[in-house]
Subunit: 377 residues, 2 copies
């Protein structure tokens, strides 16, 4: 009997002040919950998502057996984050295109679709919005907040912004900020979208078009950076798509890797929103808790109160282990309790979503410890 997920929506009428100085009002957050909130409301775990994900973290939708949540291998009954013990909340971030209020929704100030006028949101804004959702659900303190990649940044941000509301922060395949190369890849992807003639300055909805060319390029770039060199060579290498003879064409698919990337790009451009892509990559660029402390991460993390689990993957060149180690070191320098696992995995950044026994066991053991601590910790 699989876990059945029930998407819900929480409306907020109170304006949410944003880091940019703007505010957003009359918005809604999509979310799902799994498991049961215990009597003292001490077993809640919040899951934060990365670029291309949503509140649908675990389980399947009724009568849709293929609709597994994006972290279904990690979260569910008897799984590393055990929904028989924890009340797990998946939430979709503001600006997303998967349910929560985003660029394709109506701007209450104008009565027209937001489009490019959707306010620029940051990791801090998302965390603030998530905190309000917890308020609405009556949850004062999280047993844990957890996320991978951009989701890990949110988990880290939670421990800084609401230190007393987080007992544990689980930060997987993440970084204390993006480096120049990461920003560079984001920028190329954004330029591809913004310069697509079908983007219309971000107001393409009214034109009945979608900047698919740009979205395809953005996704292709993304996929290259999610995979490791090793796994690409193993999976595709220089294998030709058709037989062994070269076609000698600059435009046709010749190598399997080209076919894979085109397929991923095409698929993505069918469902992902271009304005959301811009917003989410920008939130990634901006995240940098050390910035307000002159670049001193130790100082920035001094305000944390949580215990931490950090996980990184050896072949992840997008969020390399060295970046996780910066966080670990800064926490240790603050005498925080930190567990750190560097998993020797071939899959690059994608590894955080995949089945790796060592990785899943580390998380399982950590959450077993959280469960045994209870609210007393």
């Amino acid at each position: 009997m699989p876990l059945i997920a029930h998407p819900q929506s929480m409306p907020f009428s109170q304006p949410l002040p944003l880091q940019s100085g703007a505010a957003i009002r009359d918005y809604a957050l999509s979310y799902e919950t799994y498991g049961t909130l215990n009597a003292d409301k001490s077993n809640a775990v919040l899951i934060c998502h990365a670029l291309n994900a949503s509140h649908h973290v675990a389980g399947v939708y009724e009568d849709q057996p293929k609709s597994e949540g994006w972290w279904d291998n990690m979260i569910g009954p008897g799984k590393p984050v055990d929904t028989d013990r924890f009340f797990v909340i998946g939430v979709n971030n503001l600006g997303s295109c998967f349910g929560s209020t985003g660029p394709m929704h109506i701007n209450p100030d104008t009565g027209r679709v937001y489009g490019a006028d959707f306010p620029v949101v940051t990791v801090e804004d998302w965390v603030d919005a998530q905190a309000r959702l917890l308020d609405a659900l009556g949850i004062r303190q999280l047993a844990a907040v957890m996320g991978g990649s951009l989701g890990g940044m949110q988990a880290l941000c939670w421990s800084l912004r609401y230190p007393e509301r987080v007992r544990h922060a689980v930060v997987v395949a993440s970084a204390p900020n993006l480096n120049a190369e990461n920003i560079a890849f984001n920028e190329v992807a954004r330029r591809a979208i913004v310069t697509d003639p079908d983007f219309h300055g971000g107001h393409f909805y009214a034109q009945g078009v979608v900047p698919k060319r740009g979205l395809r390029i953005a996704r292709m770039i993304g996929h290259i950076t999610y995979l490791s060199d090793d796994v690409m060579n193993e999976k595709f290498g220089r294998q030709l798509r058709e037989g062994i003879d070269l076609k000698y064409s600059t435009q046709d698919v010749e190598f399997q890797i080209e076919s894979y990337l085109r397929y991923q790009g095409d698929k993505f451009s069918e469902y992902f929103d271009a304005n959301t892509y811009l917003l989410i990559t920008r939130a990634l660029d901006y995240f940098d808790p050390a910035r307000a402390h002159g670049g001193n991460l130790q100082q920035a993390l001094a305000q944390t109160q949580a215990k931490f689990l950090l996980v990184s993957f050896t072949t992840d060149w997008r969020f390399a282990p060295a970046r996780s180690r910066e966080i670990v070191q800064a926490l240790l320098d603050n005498k925080r309790a930190v567990s750190y696992a560097e998993i020797d995995a071939p899959h690059g950044h994608d590894a955080f979503l995949l089945d790796d026994a060592r990785y899943l066991n580390v998380v399982r053991a950590y959450f077993a410890r959280i469960a045994s601590e209870g609210a007393a910790a």
Copy 2:
């Protein structure tokens, strides 16, 4: 008194058969020579260029003091490849947009501009065309053939295709073939160009437009892969372009790295030809001398007769040292004479064009040895 370069053009009426099975006729190669061919014509050095370069390798043009050749720090009087000793030839490849016959020239079969109908050319085709140029210049054997990156592939190809015509091959920052990740980056760049509405299937010249959007994206991707992570962090890091306040914009430039990439993309799109970009990246993809030997590089290199210098750079992730070492190993397994230098340089793939004393000294010493050997070697 700087070296003054004189561009020349050599016409060829005889059709050149290509690897694809097609042929090209009535073409011309642009080239430059520096220094003096000695009496027994034994001191010629051929320089092969990479993606964005040309026959203008060294020196400056008359009355254009800023027009230094792309490898002017390496080649010239008293420089590592000393034009007081060697007769150096720079040649522009077929399909280029810098002088030799390319997609913007007239197809003699149709009387119209080639555009996308320019035949797909390979590294082997370029080497064959270069061999004909040497024939026309009366040069039977090269003291050395030298190139970096794609130019290094041509140097390696020379040693295989015309073993008796090459005494030394100098292969810098190169590889025995592209790996899947390299092909992937090329493919994204090509898709950006081909899907630009101004590309018109490669026949944009007649429309009076240029697919600049695609060229910009292609160049931005290229620049990311030419630089190392380290040098990007050092040069740009997370530095903002204007002051210290964030603008909270998804489309404006916020970080210095974005400004740099946009500038490079804009500049490139003003002068580089889109069809040439497709052709050259495809030549990169196709090069794979081991392919005809079931992937066995040692077997492929058994036919070489030259002595070799290989150079790689530690932070080059586009053509990593490990790829150069594959060539070195395969040559050693064939008992060839090989010198190999792995230069600890922070600049990534770009290092092969930059001033690094150790690198320049290695090349200087190697060419001094070639000069001392004379034609007897």
